[in-house]
Symmetry: C2
Subunit: 197 residues, 2 copies
């Protein structure tokens, strides 16, 4: 059974991951640690840099296996905005701001995706895993669950926004669920196939 | 005569600062270095952290005097957006995006300010200096000089946007001119008054 650590200050993210890890026979531990993230247009670079930052702050983790996760909403007609700065943009202009930016943008040009990236540190190296959900930005808020941009994001093939789904559905279909799935699947492969990668 | 170093990868910023430094009998040197900036809502924290990052990358600078500068546009009715992420926001949604966000916002609610923060490292400590220019966001682009959000920012008491000013006027009136002035003035004070601060 694997013991790995999820470093996040978000308890809900940890709980979501903990439940999923159990299905893979992985024992997920939590370290609630604040760490500085860099400014970069790429979630991959931000997550990778966060792992390095954490190793500086906590050299005792050098012999452990741990991961961090970062996510963002990327709107295609806005050149990827708000992307890696989604949390800041939500805190300032919010859903209202995104709807205003897309005001008069026709339905077929409102495509967007949520992306989650995991940087997983073990044995001196960092591996990246990601999960993407394609969808579009609708024209008004729908639903009251979830958080952030959930009420304006309609995943492709769904008639419910993320904010209209219960936690279980969103965890299953969401971008973070996918990146966690990628990580946990890779860990639960037998050693021989790990060697082959 | 002081010898201090401006660390930036922006040649124009260096040239602007070099000319001003000469007036204070300061010999400004340039190090063109890319360094990672952290994500933070405060320019002060970003600039301070950049100094520390640079000392990690270049331990030979420990015995030197150097500074970095960071700036942003803060729009009051958008809770400070785009703030420290002004460069990213300009690259993605641009002036067009800001005008759209402020579309139907009346004239008296369009106040904004540009802020420049300098973090100056010397003798093992970091000092902060800042310059702020109050103004407002106008309703369409005016002028073709400068860069970034200059064409939509009208400084208070001016009938020209930053993009309608020549380089000399903008350097004199601008936020970066002010923070540089603060730094250079502090350096050219006689040693006794430095002790008193």
């Amino acid at each position: 059974m694997y013991n790995i650590i999820f470093i996040t200050h978000n308890k809900h993210k940890f709980e979501e991951a903990y439940e999923k890890a159990k299905l893979f026979n992985i024992n997920l531990q939590w370290i609630n640690l604040e760490y500085e993230e860099i400014q970069d247009d790429s979630l991959e670079e931000i997550a990778r840099s966060s792992c390095l930052k954490i190793l500086e702050l906590r050299p005792d983790l050098k012999d452990k296996s741990f991961f961090v996760e970062d996510a963002g909403l990327f709107i295609n007609c806005l050149r990827g905005f708000p992307g890696p700065y989604s949390a800041y943009v939500f805190r300032t202009i919010g859903n209202w701001g995104i709807l205003k930016l897309l005001h008069d943008v026709p339905d077929n040009e409102r495509s967007a995706f949520f992306k989650s990236v995991i940087a997983y540190y073990h044995s001196g190296k960092i591996e990246l895993f990601s999960g993407v959900i394609q969808g579009k930005i609708i024209k008004s808020l729908k639903g009251s669950q979830g958080f952030g941009f959930d009420p304006i994001f309609l995943p492709a093939g769904s008639n419910k926004t993320f904010a209209q789904m219960n936690k279980e559905s969103k965890n299953l279909k969401g971008h973070r669920g996918k990146s966690l799935q990628e990580l946990f699947t890779s860990l639960s492969k037998p050693p021989s196939s790990l060697k082959d990668r």
